[in-house]
């Protein structure tokens, strides 16, 4: 099974603040990666 080191990933909220995915868990996360904005 694939595994990703979530604690190593830093993303940004819409204000530009760094956030970790761990902050958003219920039990599971469905991550939807977009292509370009259009």
């Amino acid at each position: 099974m694939e595994k990703v080191a979530l604690d190593r990933l830093t993303l940004h909220d819409l204000n530009g603040n760094p956030v970790k995915l761990n902050e958003y868990f219920h039990n599971y996360l469905l991550l939807i990666f977009l292509r370009h904005l259009a």
Binding site: M1, E2, K3, V4, A5, L6, R8, L9, T10, L11, H12, D13, L14, N15, G16, V19, L21, N22, Y24, F25, H26, N27, Y28, L29, L30, L31, I32, F33, L34, R35, H36, L37, A38
Partner: protein
């Protein structure tokens, strides 16, 4: 997708939408679309890289499925909105993960039209989590 949000949450699944756009540009997009999900920016594409989301080839970006999709959207009256210059070759994808980072389901788009529907995702989640 909006209509399905409660059905995902009932299964303990939070939805996070990730874009490689800068937060300021993404905020403009979000203000326009008002998605009911958490939307995060990954301008350095560290998450895109971690989930092995590659750049598509020209043939994949302009595949018959893509042309068919955009033709349908045009017929439905959808207009292309301009959020600035963007990388049209970056692929997208959908991943179900648990708290330990285990990827329970992955779908890496092979062209812009290649995305699972919300209904399909719910079916997969029910299968994986049963």
């Amino acid at each position: 997708m909006r209509a399905f949000k409660d059905r995902f949450e009932a299964r303990g699944v939070s939805i996070i939408v990730i874009s490689f756009a800068e937060p300021e540009r993404l905020a403009q997009y979000e203000a326009q679309h008002q998605w009911p999900f958490v939307v995060l920016a990954d301008p350095n594409r560290t998450a895109y890289d971690a989930f092995a989301l590659k750049r598509l080839s020209w043939l994949q970006v302009f595949s018959p499925a893509t042309v068919k999709l955009y033709w349908r959207l045009l017929r439905e009256g959808k207009k292309r909105e301009d959020y600035g210059k963007d990388d049209i070759y970056q692929s997208g994808g959908d991943f179900l993960i648990d708290r330990d980072g285990n990827v329970l389901f992955s779908h890496r788009s092979q062209d812009p039209a290649d995305r699972p529907t919300a209904k399909k995702l719910l079916e997969i989640i029910d299968r994986k989590l049963s």
